[in-house]
Amino acid sequence: MKINNVILQFTAKFVFFIIFFFAVHIFFAGHYTPGGGFVGGLVTASAIVLLIIAFDLNTVQKLLPINYIYVVAVGLILALGTAAFSMFVGEPFFTHFFDYFYLPLFGKTSLHTAALFDLGVYLVVVGVTMTIIQTIGEDE
């Protein structure tokens, strides 16, 4: 018997974006206040999991045809690259750089290389979480 989950599917389409943008917010909040790549990644993964629950694994894989292992690899390379960048300019590994810029709309903004590292963490967390969930889900 097929369950009627119209309401869940309809809501999930909206709630996915709400959760996703909240994840982006948490990600950028991360440097000075609680948040960051790890939590942002988990929240994003939970948004995708909501889609998987509302629809099913195959539909979501068609919707987001991503090989999550590549996401992990790209995240790792980004994180390592940010950390290793300082080696090439003669500073110890993991030294970070930041400065203040005046951007249109945003005004005075601090741009930080740590955010790139955090983006790497974000990708790794999304990739690992989704790989685990997909692998377990497929076995049914």
Binding site: I77, L80, P92, F93, F94, T95
Partner: protein, 496 residues
């Protein structure tokens, strides 16, 4: 500040990442892995020469001032171990081409190897006790992958045990680090060394020392915490077994060596006496296992346990001769264990069985294999001029200097048991009537397995014959171990 010492850690890490792409392309996977290890070996060798000339190399992450940031310290001990690790990984990966199987190669075997090397090298290099835990986790994560990869029944059974043991010991590790932090208020290993010396190691620090011995002893397989090792190590295929047997237990041994020479040096009568007793019991337990089994894998696996006991006996003496012997023996044991596992891997491949009773008469068809096995076996037992001799000699010399006459004689006697256990394989497998032979064996795979093995046996012979050349490096290493102030001064005063 010198970022160069990070390269032997970062290069395998980077190559592990790019190996995550192109999962199914075997040629790409194999060549990239060997290339990555080759570059790392060159860097590690250059690092070793640099450390020899300029003393310990320091870098503190993120440009933080020294006791606060995470410091990486490459002294002679860690530089030697890092180089050995990479050389062994190179030969084991090469050997794996012929025996690991295409299925595993397509399923992230090579990234697993690269990440395990990253973790092992990181653990050897780090100068921060909590960071040591992090690198332990890195190598354990990769080892979980390698032990279960392939999904055979025995592997699944043993991997559950293996993960459980390691999760428990990791939890204990964090708790112990927290205890230590609450007493001395720092995580930097050099700083801990100075702080413990200042408060003159009260009873609580001795308790923490014993807890550390438990945590690292679980990984290093000392008595009575070795119970998980023989069955867990026997489950994965030979290249993974060689990697685990040569590297993983040695990380635990290194951690004991480091903490017991750098931190807990003020109550030798308790901590090092305990270490001495446990090391003797470890040798006894290992010897019984090595003589009792008729399974070639188990015999060599129990020899790991014996060697751990011998090295820790050297650490327990806490004088320069014994520590030099311990470093000598540690590196000898890493090389020779990898070589022996590779050799018995070939024997198993040729005969199709691990049971000694079914083997026999291989000398007729495979004389070269027989002679190389004999050389490796004699090297393991420490017959001069092969590689095990000088390490054991120095350990026993240190034992006599420290006044532990009877236990030193016991160490010498244990060599006979080691010799007996490995010669038994030689006698059963190579002499006598023609035993069982595998029907699926082909000559080109045999050669693919044989050449890296010979290479590693030759490395071990060079290590023994070239003692004269290696000795200054070892001497440097033992100085750092026997005088903790060299290490802490280099980090706290020179680490700018």
């Amino acid at each position: 500040m010198n970022n160069f010492l990070l390269l032997p850690i970062l290069i395998p890490f980077f190559f592990g990442m790019i190996l995550l792409f192109g999962q199914k392309k075997l040629g790409y996977q194999r060549i990239t892995t060997l290339l990555g290890l080759m570059i790392s070996i060159i860097c590690a060798f250059a690092l070793m020469l640099n450390v020899n000339q300029n003393g310990p190399q320091i870098v503190t992450f993120g440009n933080w001032p020294v006791p606060f940031g995470i410091t990486m310290v490459s002294d002679m001990v860690s530089a030697l171990l890092v180089l050995t690790t990479l050389v062994l990984a190179f030969f084991i990966v090469w050997y794996g081409f012929g025996s690991i199987g295409k299925e595993r190669e397509r399923f992230f075997y090579y990234p697993g190897v690269m990440f395990i090397v990253t973790g092992v090298n990181g653990a050897f290099t780090t100068g921060d006790i909590f960071n040591l835990f992090v690198f332990f986790e890195v190598l354990l994560m990769a080892s979980y992958l390698l032990i279960v990869l392939g999904g055979e029944k025995a592997q699944l059974r043993e991997s559950i045990k293996y993960i459980l043991i390691n999760v428990i010991s990791s939890a204990l590790f964090v708790i112990t680090v927290a205890y230590l932090y609450s007493v001395v208020g720092t995580l930097n290993m050099a700083d801990i060394s100075v702080k413990i010396a200042e408060i003159n190691q009260p009873g609580i620090v001795t308790v923490i020392a014993v807890l550390f011995l438990m945590v690292f002893g679980m990984k290093a397989a000392i008595f009575p915490l070795y119970f998980w090792l023989p069955s867990a190590y026997a489950a994965p295929p030979i290249p993974v077994l060689a990697l685990f047997g040569a590297l993983l237990t040695k990380v635990g041994v290194y951690a004991i060596m480091r903490t017991y020479t750098l931190f807990f040096t003020h109550d030798l009568a308790y901590t090092h006496e305990l270490l001495l007793i446990l090391s003797i019991l470890t040798i006894v337990a290992g010897s019984i296992g090595a003589l009792a089994h008729f399974d070639v894998k188990q015999i060599i696996i129990y020899n790991i346990v014996i060697a751990v006991g011998v090295i820790l006996f050297g650490v327990a003496q806490m004088n320069e001769a014994a520590l030099e012997g311990a470093v000598f023996y540690l590196i000898h044991d890493m090389i020779i264990k990898a070589a022996l596992f590779m050799l018995i891997g070939i024997i198993i491949y040729v005969t199709g069985t691990t049971n000694l009773r079914k083997m026999g008469g291989l000398m007729g068809n495979y004389p070269a294999l027989g002679w190389f096995y004999l050389i490796a076996a004699l090297g393991l037992a420490g017959v001069p001029p092969l590689s095990g001799f000088i390490g054991k000699l120095l350990i026993v010399q240190g034992g006599f200097q420290a006044g532990n006459v009877w236990t030193s004689i016991f160490i010498l006697a244990s060599s006979l048991v080691v010799l007996l256990s490995v010669i038994r394989i030689f006698i059963y497998a190579f002499w006598g009537e023609q035993g069982q032979l595998s029907s699926t064996m082909n000559k080109s795979t045999y050669n693919l397995l044989f050449f890296p093995t010979i290479g590693l046996v030759l490395v071990s012979i060079l290590y023994g014959v070239g003692t004269e050349i290696i000795q200054p490096f070892m001497n440097e290493a033992s100085k750092v171990l026997s005088d903790p102030s060299i290490y802490s001064d280099a980090v706290l005063k020179g680490g700018k």
